[in-house]
């Protein structure tokens, strides 16, 4: 695949650090978003997903700084901690559906942010933690780029495979008619918890990379607004297949940068969400279909 080769060769071509930074953030966003997409497929709208990236970031940081662990165990530990908390939260919460679940995840995200802001020891409180070191062998921006790329590729592969398999079929039926799924033997809670856990693990890994790349984390990096951003990637991009969240993440991460929107970024995301919900039920990915349909009517 040409695209893949291009992506791999990217840092060699002398593009600016800023562009690579943009790519890294986009790749991390893709990782978080495709995971969240699985949760959404099971019919649960989680608007607290940034919390799991936050957990991963702080876990990885604390493993390295406070426990003195080397990077790789910390990285995997971050994913595990995130996944574990997701399971603990998910088992009681995923029984709750619809708007109630959305409110609950909203509450969870805010509660987590508040607790981290309140505890200066060990979380550094509102000011966060600075001086997060580069792992061994990760000196350059390019190395973080490759790391994010690999993680994104793994996430996309995993998510796509699940979606095309009986897992995806089960998820979709659970999302649309869960009693029908139950009556043919599908254990709803089990599937929902697995989806929730996987998404959290991926977000945790992304959080860990972010923490070490950025060298600084604070609770304000992982707010309701960030969680909503992930949701907007999915909504704008479309939910039908894995390319929806990917497209959404790419377009919505890059376009605001290109347009140099700073404070208007939420305005842009919000406006797009509203436009898509009102006019384009299936997201941007569906635009080719819509165009085709319009042409056929002529």
């Amino acid at each position: 695949m040409i695209g893949l080769i291009l992506l791999v060769l990217l840092p060699k071509v002398g593009i600016s650090n800023y562009t690579i930074h943009l790519f890294i953030i986009t790749l991390l966003n893709i990782t978080c978003t495709v995971g969240l997409w699985l949760i959404v497929e099971t019919g649960q709208l989680s608007i607290g997903h940034a919390a799991f990236m936050c957990i991963g970031a702080y876990a990885s940081t604390l493993f390295v700084l406070k426990l003195g662990l080397p990077f790789w165990p910390s990285f995997f530990g971050a994913g595990l901690v995130s996944g574990f908390i997701a399971v603990c939260l998910g088992i009681p919460s995923l029984r709750v559906k619809g708007a109630y679940f959305a409110i609950l995840t909203f509450g969870f995200g805010e509660a987590l942010r508040l607790i981290i802001s309140a505890l200066v020891n060990p979380f550094g409180g509102v000011n966060g933690i600075v001086g997060i070191p580069n792992p061994k062998g990760f000196g350059s921006v390019a190395s973080y780029y490759y790391f994010s790329l690999i993680l994104a590729l793994v996430s996309v592969y995993l998510t796509k495979r699940l979606h095309s398999s009986h897992w995806g079929l089960n998820f979709r039926f659970i999302g649309h008619e869960d009693s029908l799924a139950e009556s043919v033997g599908i254990d709803i809670m089990w599937h929902k918890v697995i989806a929730f856990m996987l998404a959290a693990i991926l977000a945790g890994f992304a959080g860990s990379i972010f923490a070490h790349y950025h060298h600084y984390i604070a609770p304000d990096f992982f707010t309701f607004y960030e969680s909503v951003s992930f949701i907007s990637f999915i909504i704008v991009g479309g939910t039908g297949n894995v390319w929806g969240p990917i497209t959404g993440a790419i377009v919505l991460t890059i376009v605001p940068e290109v347009l140099e929107l700073k404070e208007s970024r939420p305005l842009f995301y919000g406006g797009l969400i509203m436009a898509v919900v009102m006019f384009l039920q299936k997201g941007i990915v569906d635009i080719p279909n819509l165009v085709q349909r319009k042409i056929r009517w002529r």
Partner: protein, 285 residues
């Protein structure tokens, strides 16, 4: 002890006023409005402009704020929410988008510097309860206004034609249609009223706090806690939920710091949703 009671009372009344509109919108239109906090913010900013820029008297400013937010609410229902009626998460997601648009729009329009509205009522009221408590007239006014608007709302709901229509729609849409209720118009008015109440809450608290575009998030979250506690379909439940949260928070604030009070509110929210999603008095799920 008396401190907790007064703080709790003030918080409760305020939360009830903020949450009343949210509960109304949910029970009449089945919409979970995540942009509710932004209407609160608009009310506060409207008062700011009316009082500080156009030099209107405060009372006029509050009325103007209500009318302004009411109008914005009407527009949103008619042209935005009505388009996405009924389909799954659409209204909820739309409200999230609206929340971002309004708060970010406000940021662009009003700038990043905090705004302040001049104190309306000066002086301090000294009550000789226990060891003698003093409470500013400002806080008393806020409580009185909140109580007034809450009372007016309940009067409207129970003793006017519109109120009866709204209750009918909330209980059984099909039956309401049979009874000749104009669903579209009365739902729109209900939505606008709900937003207007949030705007009123913002307007009455404006003199006491600093205004900034993202100020709606906190009260919005508290409003959700209140209606979950009280039961999401129930208007009366808002009163119950409001008092529970208000006094819980006042007690926590007294014992520790503000941040923990917010955290406790969330724990309660999550616990109620997990254990008894219908809350104290709600029926709809």
């Amino acid at each position: 002890m008396e401190q907790i009671f007064l703080d709790g009372l003030q918080l409760s009344l305020f939360y009830i006023l903020v949450a009343l509109g949210l509960a109304m919108v949910f029970s009449i239109l089945d919409i979970v409005n995540f942009a509710h906090g932004e209407f609160y913010m608009l009310g506060a900013f409207a008062v700011y402009y009316a009082v500080q820029r156009w030099h209107l008297p405060y009372v006029l400013g509050v009325i103007a704020a209500f009318l302004f937010v009411f109008a914005v609410g009407m527009f949103c229902e008619r042209f935005l929410f009505r388009r996405v009626e009924g389909v799954g998460y659409n209204a909820l997601v739309l409200s999230i988008g609206l929340s971002l648009v309004l708060s970010s729009g406000a940021l662009n329009l009003f700038g990043t510097r905090d705004k302040a509205v001049d104190t309306v009522v000066q002086g301090v009221l000294r009550l000789s309860i226990g060891e003698g408590i003093s409470i500013s007239w400002e806080r008393v006014t806020i409580m009185a206004c909140a109580l007034l608007f809450i009372g007016l709302t309940f009067l409207l709901i129970h003793h006017t034609k519109l109120g009866r229509a709204m209750r009918a729609i909330a209980q059984n849409k099909a039956a309401a249609i049979q009874l000749g209720v104009d669903i579209q118009r009365d739902s729109m008015l209900g939505f606008a009223l709900g937003c207007g109440l949030a705007g009123l809450a913002g307007a009455i608290i404006a003199p006491a706090i600093y205004l900034y575009p993202a100020m709606g998030l906190g009260p919005c979250i508290k409003a959700f806690v209140v209606i979950v506690l009280g039961g999401m379909g129930s208007i009366h439940g808002v009163v119950v939920g409001g008092f529970i949260l208000g006094f819980l928070e006042a007690t926590t604030r007294f014992l520790t710091t503000g941040v923990w009070a917010d955290f406790v509110a969330f724990l309660v929210l999550m616990a109620v949703l997990i254990i008894k999603p219908t809350g104290m008095m709600g029926q709809k799920l």
